[in-house]
């Protein structure tokens, strides 16, 4: 009887332990965007994108600061923050979603669709993003790319500059996760 009780407690402890370890975090995820037109190519990268995945719930959250995008030219960064995404009013882009058929026990690579709400520039939209998930001994890396229409998020481009900014912006992302630590 006592053996069973001990086993039971061990099992409970294991469950508790397993539950603590189900969250993984990326503090320095990378998101880049590209605007290609015949007039000029604009690209920028954010290397401090924050993301958390709850493996047991198959939930994912992403958050980034618009001001942390780095451009090659200072003027592009200024226009981006002041005229287009209005970083003072909308400093962050946030995404919350689920990876419904994510197989967390699978090692190696799997391609899944991440579905959720993306809030950016004061507008929330349903999005579905095809994502490559790489699992090497519990170290997860998520990568992928998708496109966003600037009209969808109410980004206004003055007529004079319209030829310089693409209507469709390409976005690439890469998140390397590590276990969530509460030390």
């Amino acid at each position: 009887m006592s053996k069973i009780t001990t086993l039971f407690f061990v099992f409970i402890c294991f469950l508790g332990y397993a539950q603590e370890e189900t969250r993984i975090i990326a503090r320095q995820g990378q998101v880049s965007f590209f605007s290609y037109t015949s007039v000029e190519n604009i690209e920028a990268t954010n290397n401090q994108v924050y993301s958390v995945i709850d493996l047991s719930e198959k939930e994912i959250a992403v958050s980034m600061l618009m001001r942390a995008f780095v451009f090659k030219k200072a003027l592009m960064e200024e226009h981006f923050n002041e005229s287009y995404v209005e970083s003072d009013i909308y400093p962050k882009l946030q995404f919350e979603g689920k990876i419904p058929d994510f197989d967390t026990s699978l090692e190696g690579s799997q391609t899944k669709v991440v579905k959720g709400d993306m809030t950016f520039h004061g507008i929330t939209k349903d999005v579905a993003i095809k994502t490559q998930i790489e699992n090497t001994a519990g170290n997860y890396v998520l990568t992928g790319n998708f496109e966003v229409g600037i009209v969808d998020y109410d980004i206004k481009v003055p007529g004079l500059l319209a030829p310089n900014i693409a209507k469709i912006i390409k976005i690439e992302f890469r998140f390397e996760y590590e276990p969530y630590e509460e030390k």
Binding site: I25, R27, Q28, Q30, N47, Q48, Y50, S63, M64, L65, R67, A68, V70, F71, K72, K73, A74, L75, E77, P91, K92, R174, E176, E181, E182, K183
Partner: protein, 144 residues
């Protein structure tokens, strides 16, 4: 004769103007803050406490400002081919992430976790951590 000279001078001025706009404004590289005096000097703990307490107030006070942060190195990461120094805080899971200016990484390679450092950079805001870009090492206070 003098009319021609005037036209030539005029054209030269326009050419200089275009060059200035092209190289000085349009192609101006991102900011180098080596010689910029920090507007605020603060410890990483204090900075994180302020952002935790009232994010919008802290945003208004620090975002886009050149600030100097003192703190203890928790970790140095080289993700995405960039050097970042993470400063630890009393509040365990929050840090100050300092993305180092690529021209200054030689200084960073010598740093070790546990060391107290002063870093100057441009504050960009707060997610889980306070994020600072274009950072440079100001002064190493370890041996004092």
């Amino acid at each position: 004769m003098s009319g021609k000279v005037k036209i030539v001078i005029g054209l030269l001025l326009i050419a200089f103007g275009v060059c200035y706009l092209y190289f000085g404004v349009y192609n101006k590289p991102p900011r180098d803050i080596t010689n910029v005096k920090p507007e605020v000097e603060i410890s990483s703990d204090k900075l994180l406490t302020l952002f935790h307490a009232d994010e919008s107030l802290a945003n208004a006070t620090y975002v886009q400002k050149t600030i100097e942060v003192q703190g203890v190195v928790k970790e140095i990461t080289t993700l995405n081919n960039r050097y970042s120094v993470l400063l630890q805080s009393k509040n365990d899971s929050s840090h100050v992430i300092c993305d180092m200016a690529p021209s200054k990484v030689m200084d960073i390679k010598k740093l070790k976790p546990g060391q107290t450092v002063r870093l100057k950079g441009i504050c960009k805001g707060f997610l889980m951590d306070v994020i600072m870009l274009n950072c440079i090492l100001v002064n190493d206070k370890t041996n004092e």
